[in-house]
Symmetry: C2
Subunit: 351 residues, 2 copies
Amino acid sequence: MQGSSDFSPACPIPLQQYPHVLLAHGGGGKLMHQLLEQLFATAFANPLLDRRHDSAVFESPAPRLAFTTDSFVVRPLFFPGGDIGSMAVYGTVNDLAMAGARPLYLSASFILEEGLPMETLWRIVCSMQQAARRAGVKIVTGDTKVVDKGKGDGLFLNTAGIGGIEHSRTIAPQSVQPGDVLLVNGDLGRHGMAILAVREGLEFQCIIESDSAPVADLVLQLLRENIELHCLRDLTRGGLASALNEISEAACRQILVEEKLIPVREDVHAACEMLGFDPLHVACEGRFVAFVAPNDAERALAILRSHPLGEQAARVGIVREAASPGVSLKSSIGAHRILDMLSGEQLPRIC
Amino acid sequence: MQGSSDFSPACPIPLQQYPHVLLAHGGGGKLMHQLLEQLFATAFANPLLDRRHDSAVFESPAPRLAFTTDSFVVRPLFFPGGDIGSMAVYGTVNDLAMAGARPLYLSASFILEEGLPMETLWRIVCSMQQAARRAGVKIVTGDTKVVDKGKGDGLFLNTAGIGGIEHSRTIAPQSVQPGDVLLVNGDLGRHGMAILAVREGLEFQCIIESDSAPVADLVLQLLRENIELHCLRDLTRGGLASALNEISEAACRQILVEEKLIPVREDVHAACEMLGFDPLHVACEGRFVAFVAPNDAERALAILRSHPLGEQAARVGIVREAASPGVSLKSSIGAHRILDMLSGEQLPRIC
């Protein structure tokens, strides 16, 4: 139940000699060289990385490019349904997909705390490699820093990514139109509740697994089928509520969502209720909202549902003709209320 | 004497209300939104960033691209000659330049420790913006995470970068040839000694300032003048010694450098001697070594010296015909010794 890194070949660093990460592993000398060559280069091996240069160099993959970055500080490092490594790959892959790009190249930069078990680092690196293979991307450049004990928290991870845009659509908040239909590709709130449960030692009826997954395939499928996609946004920190408020503001459009249409698993719903969370504010790591022209909505929904990562896809709302931005929610009993972003922090370090 | 961030407009976040970074500034809600909109977007404003999308989208700038990343954990955050912000911009710009690329687009990802003074964050962000302007790059995408107090060290920073390659040379260790001449663009060891001096409260005759600077201009000038450049490497962690050993190994060539040709300022030399450091192992942040075909070496040297960041450029060594890799140093008294990488760590967290 420790996520996607169940399979790891033996750590190539001699663990009896180096059971833990040392400051010297970030020092630019022999130990760092050994870490790069034996651990990272072994796991991530590919022709671009193998050139061992300060930058990866490659042919430009498309006339338009997407470029994004995310740092990951999730606690704990391993959780049901994933770990910081796979999450860092999928998070950046998904951000590229949200621009309608095909994710291609990733960087990986590690900030290690002195004393981190070498075995832990190896498990995370193996998980990244498996996630990269699943998502069809290559890790082509990287960096490692080590901070003194007590000045970090085991491991922080940054990925940046480049994707190629192979179509001419402008997928952005500015393309959102009145009448656009909002689709989500699955049930909401699982990632946040999975992290909370494992962090707080909560036990529910069954273990809630994170939804962490790469969704680029779904987006590329929609584009291949020429769905009139206007905007995409992944539902990470702040959940659906923050995503819709950001888009509403950037697009200057009003959005209406219907609570009873939004898929939330029963166990997640129960956990949220017990702990006072609203699933619409809880982060997902494999879910997105798509703004689709009304004529294409049914077809788009069918495409999403035919993919393993979109079986629970649903139509959840609509963009309204209105003079000012805003997001309103029609509750299950029919009342309307404003769906705002949270002001503060409900669940720190979930990603 | 606090680096390049002497000029900062007033912080756009109300400091009486938010004197320090809170966990909620990374929570995906209103406070994070305010931080992104008021602080980052104000400082870094440009049309690509202004689109507020998960990824920046732009036309591919060249047939070949370079892609790189670095995380920065330098302590203290401000030091004579620079700060973590300018350093994070120049570091990635320089890595792109080492592939012969024109640096164009940067990402910036912040890992903030709860309690970091907001004013400090603002100064660093302003310094990044000034550095980006100086280096001719745009910060087009980013991310912010906040970790709980005691789980970070003020601020860690990651930048990734994309550059365009506008020539057909292969600038890489594999292109190094016997007979190639080694040039450096200036005196060595200043960055490491500047950090050490300020960190340990050491006082020398005068303050040693970091050499932190963007060197892409020099490289582009060499390329424009059609210098036969074979390889480039910036002299960061591990200094000249690590850089040459890495290239020697990747290129499978032997390198000979002459101690008396290597420019080291007298105050840096004295500080190194006093503290038991070898300037050839000390990190620079605005210095690189260039491997140049022998016929072009004099011309390349003249080009470097005509640039403000290359006035002290010097010819320091040569690549030898030999069956195995290795780096040797001809000392000032004429003896030869192996110039190896250090095994451990001499100066943690200098970048």
